[in-house]
C-alpha cells in the first residue's frame, strides 16, 4: 500500500527537487534585504548629490541660512545638523543614566515581582508608536515649557517666544523614546556577565554595590556601549514625535529656541518643495544616511573589540 502514496516530500526524486527549490527560495529572500539596502543607497546618492553639485557642498553644510523659497534662495543646513547633534547628545545624556540604572536594577537587584512589572512597562514603552510620544509632548511638555519660558524670559525684550515648542521639549521626548533600547540591551549585557564573577567578588568581601560597579559593569562595558550607540541611532532617526514638539523654525540649538532636526526638516517641507529645494531635502536625507552609517560602523567596531576582550 505504501508504494501507492504519492508525496512530494517522501518521493526521492521530488524530494531533492523540493530541497533545491526551497534552498533557492530562502536564498532569494535573504537577498531581498541586501537589494533593499543597496537600492536605498544608490537612490539616496542619485537624488541627494545633484543639489551638492548645484549649490556646493560647503554652501549646504556650513551656511547657517535656510531660506529655500526666498528670491535668492539659500540652502544652508548647518543649524539643522547642529540641532540634530546637540539634541541627540542631550537626549543620551539624560537617557543613559536612567536606562543604565534601570537595567542594573532589573539584572542585579530587583526581585521577581518587581522585574515582571518593570519589564512589562518597558516592553509597552517600546511598542508605543512614536507619534503618540509626540502627542503627549504637545499636551504635557509644551504647556509646561511655555510657563517656564514666560517665567524665565519675563524681563527679556529680545527673546522670541515659542509657546513651549523648543529644544528641551524635543530632548525630553527623545530621552524617553530611547529608554527601551538602552534598558533592554544593557540588561542583556549585564545578564551575560558570568555569575562566578559576582560570587568571587562577594567572597572577597565586596558589597553588592561594589560588585556591581567594580566587577559587573566593567565586564558588560562593550554591551552597554552598543546600547548607547543604538540609542543614538534611534534618536537621530526619529521624526514623527519631535516634529510635533520642536517648533520647526531653523535656529541655533539653544534650550529655549524653536529648532529643526534633520528628520523634521524633510518631513515638514517635502509636501510642497520643488526644484532645488526638493533636491536639497534629499541631500539632507543623504546627510542623515551618512550619520546612520557612521553610527553602525562605530557599533561594529565596539562589538568586535568586545569579542576580542571577551576571548
Amino acid at each position: 500500500m505504501k508504494e501507492n502514496i504519492v508525496s512530494i516530500i517522501s518521493n526521492n526524486k521530488s524530494k531533492s527537487a523540493v530541497e533545491k527549490s526551497a534552498a533557492i527560495i530562502f536564498r532569494c529572500c535573504a537577498v531581498i534585504s541586501i537589494i533593499a539596502v543597496l537600492s536605498i543607497m544608490v537612490y539616496m546618492l542619485i537624488f541627494g548629490t545633484p543639489a551638492i553639485f548645484e549649490e556646493g557642498l560647503v554652501e549646504i553644510l556650513f551656511s547657517s541660512v535656510w531660506a529655500p523659497t526666498a528670491k535668492t534662495p539659500s540652502y544652508g543646513i548647518l543649524m539643522i545638523i547642529l540641532t540634530s547633534i546637540v539634541g541627540v547628545f542631550l537626549a543620551i545624556l539624560i537617557g543613559v543614566p536612567i536606562g543604565l540604572f534601570t537595567a542594573i536594577n532589573l539584572a542585579e537587584l530587583a526581585n521577581k515581582r518587581v522585574r515582571k512589572v518593570v519589564k512589562a512597562a518597558i516592553e509597552l514603552l517600546a511598542g508605543i508608536p512614536s507619534v503618540i510620544y509626540g502627542m503627549l509632548g504637545v499636551l504635557i511638555i509644551n504647556p509646561v515649557m511655555y510657563k517656564v519660558e514666560l517665567w524665565i524670559f519675563r524681563d527679556s525684550t529680545t527673546h522670541q517666544y515659542t509657546g513651549g515648542a523648543n529644544l528641551i521639549a524635543a530632548v525630553i521626548v527623545l530621552a524617553i523614546m530611547i529608554l527601551p533600547t538602552l534598558i533592554n540591551i544593557s540588561e542583556t549585557a549585564l545578564n551575560s556577565v558570568p555569575d562566578e564573577y559576582r560570587k568571587s567578588s562577594m567572597a572577597l568581601g565586596a558589597s553588592k554595590m561594589q560588585t556591581i560597579f567594580k566587577v559587573v559593569l566593567p565586564c558588560a562595558k562593550s554591551g552597554i556601549m552598543s546600547a548607547v550607540v543604538l540609542g543614538v541611532g534611534r534618536a537621530i532617526g526619529e521624526a514623527m514625535a519631535i516634529v510635533l514638539v520642536a517648533g520647526n523654525a531653523v535656529n541655533l540649538p539653544l534650550p529655549f529656541n524653536s529648532v529643526r532636526f534633520l528628520t523634521t526638516a524633510i518631513v515638514s517641507e517635502m509636501g510642497y518643495a520643488q526644484g532645488t529645494h526638493r533636491e536639497v531635502l534629499f541631500t539632507i536625507g543623504l546627510v542623515l544616511f551618512v550619520f546612520i552609517i557612521a553610527i553602525n560602523l562605530v557599533l561594529t567596531r565596539i562589538l568586535k573589540n568586545g569579542e576580542k576582550n571577551g576571548k
Partner: protein, 276 residues
C-alpha cells in the same frame, strides 16, 4: 504540516509574482482634445482635484489631468504648451498677460489672521501686522492688548498660504516665525492652545476655538472678500492661452461648469468664495 507549509509558501510566492506582473493599465486617451491638462498651484489642489472628479462624473470622455508644481511652474507649462490650463493662486503678472495669457478668476480665498480666544485685540492694521511678523513688536500690549508675549505661528516654506500672506504684506523672507507648522489644521490647534499665539489660515478652516481678527477694521466674510474690502485675500486663477472661446471643447465645457450655478455651489462647498 510541513507539506502544507511548503505548498502555502509556493502558492504565496506564485501569487506575489503574478500580482507584480499585472500592472494597472491606465487608459490613455488617443484623442488629445478630450484631455485637459491642468498644471499649477498646490493651494488649488482641493479645487482642481474636485473639478477633475466632477467632470469625470458628468461626462465619461473628458479626462482632467491635474498636476501640482506651483503657480509659476504652471504658468511656464501653459506658455510652453505642456498644459492647457495653468492654475495659479496669484494674479498674473503684466509680462505674463502680454504673452497672451488670460486671467480667468474662478474663486477667491481669504487669509484670516487668528489669535487665541482669550486675546482682547480686535483689529490690526497692515503696519502692525508687518511689525508683528517681522519681530519688531513682541508684546500684545503694543497693539492694544493685554501684557502678553506674542508667539508667531507660520507655515513651512513652500506653502501657498505662507507665500501669499507674505506677498500681500510685503514681508517675504523677513518673517521671524517661532513655529513653522506644515498643516493649516495644526496652526488652528496651536493658536487655540497657546495664549499669546497669532497665526494665519484660510477662511474655511476657522472654528470657535480661535478668534479671527479684523484686518484694517474689516471682518473677513464671504461678502467682504468678494467686494474686495477685505484685502488679505488671493484669487484662484485658471489661466488659459487666449480667451476661453478659443480653447478646445473639453476645456470650454470645464469653464462652462465652473461659471454655472452648480459650479459656483461646488466652489462654495469646498470652502472658497465664489466670484459671483
Amino acid at each position: 504540516m510541513k507539506k502544507l507549509y511548503i505548498c502555502s509558501l509556493l502558492l504565496f510566492l506564485f501569487v506575489g509574482i503574478t500580482g507584480c506582473s499585472t500592472s494597472n493599465n491606465q487608459i490613455e486617451s488617443e484623442n488629445g482634445s478630450n484631455k485637459i491638462r491642468i498644471n499649477g498651484s498646490t493651494s488649488m489642489e482641493k479645487l482642481v482635484n474636485g473639478l477633475a472628479e466632477v467632470m469625470r462624473d458628468k461626462s465619461s470622455n473628458i479626462i482632467v489631468e491635474p498636476q501640482f508644481t506651483g503657480s509659476s511652474a504652471g504658468i511656464e507649462a501653459l506658455l510652453s504648451g505642456t498644459a492647457d490650463i495653468a492654475s495659479s493662486s496669484r494674479t498674473l503678472k503684466d509680462t505674463e498677460i502680454q504673452k497672451g495669457l488670460v486671467e480667468n478668476i474662478v474663486a477667491l480665498d481669504g487669509i484670516v489672521v487668528i489669535t487665541n480666544p482669550s486675546n482682547s485685540v480686535v483689529t490690526l492694521s497692515k503696519e502692525q501686522l508687518i511689525a508683528i511678523y517681522t519681530g519688531k513688536i513682541n508684546n500684545w500690549q503694543e497693539v492694544g492688548g493685554s501684557d502678553q508675549k506674542i508667539v508667531l505661528m507660520g507655515r513651512e516654506a513652500g506653502s501657498g498660504s505662507r507665500s501669499s500672506f507674505e506677498e500681500i504684506l510685503g514681508v517675504e523672507d523677513n518673517c521671524k516665525y517661532a513655529q513653522e507648522l506644515n498643516e493649516t489644521g495644526a496652526v488652528v490647534g496651536k493658536v487655540a492652545s497657546i495664549e499669546g499665539a497669532i497665526g494665519y489660515v484660510s477662511l474655511d478652516v476657522i472654528n470657535d476655538t480661535v478668534k479671527p481678527l479684523r484686518f484694517m477694521g474689516v471682518k473677513a466674510t464671504k461678502e467682504s472678500i468678494r467686494d474686495g474690502s477685505y484685502v488679505l485675500q488671493r484669487p484662484f486663477v485658471m489661466a488659459t492661452k487666449g480667451d476661453i472661446s478659443k480653447q478646445s471643447t473639453a476645456t470650454q465645457s470645464l469653464f462652462a461648469f465652473i461659471y454655472s450655478d452648480e459650479g459656483q455651489e461646488f466652489i462654495t462647498s469646498i470652502g472658497l468664495v465664489s466670484t459671483k
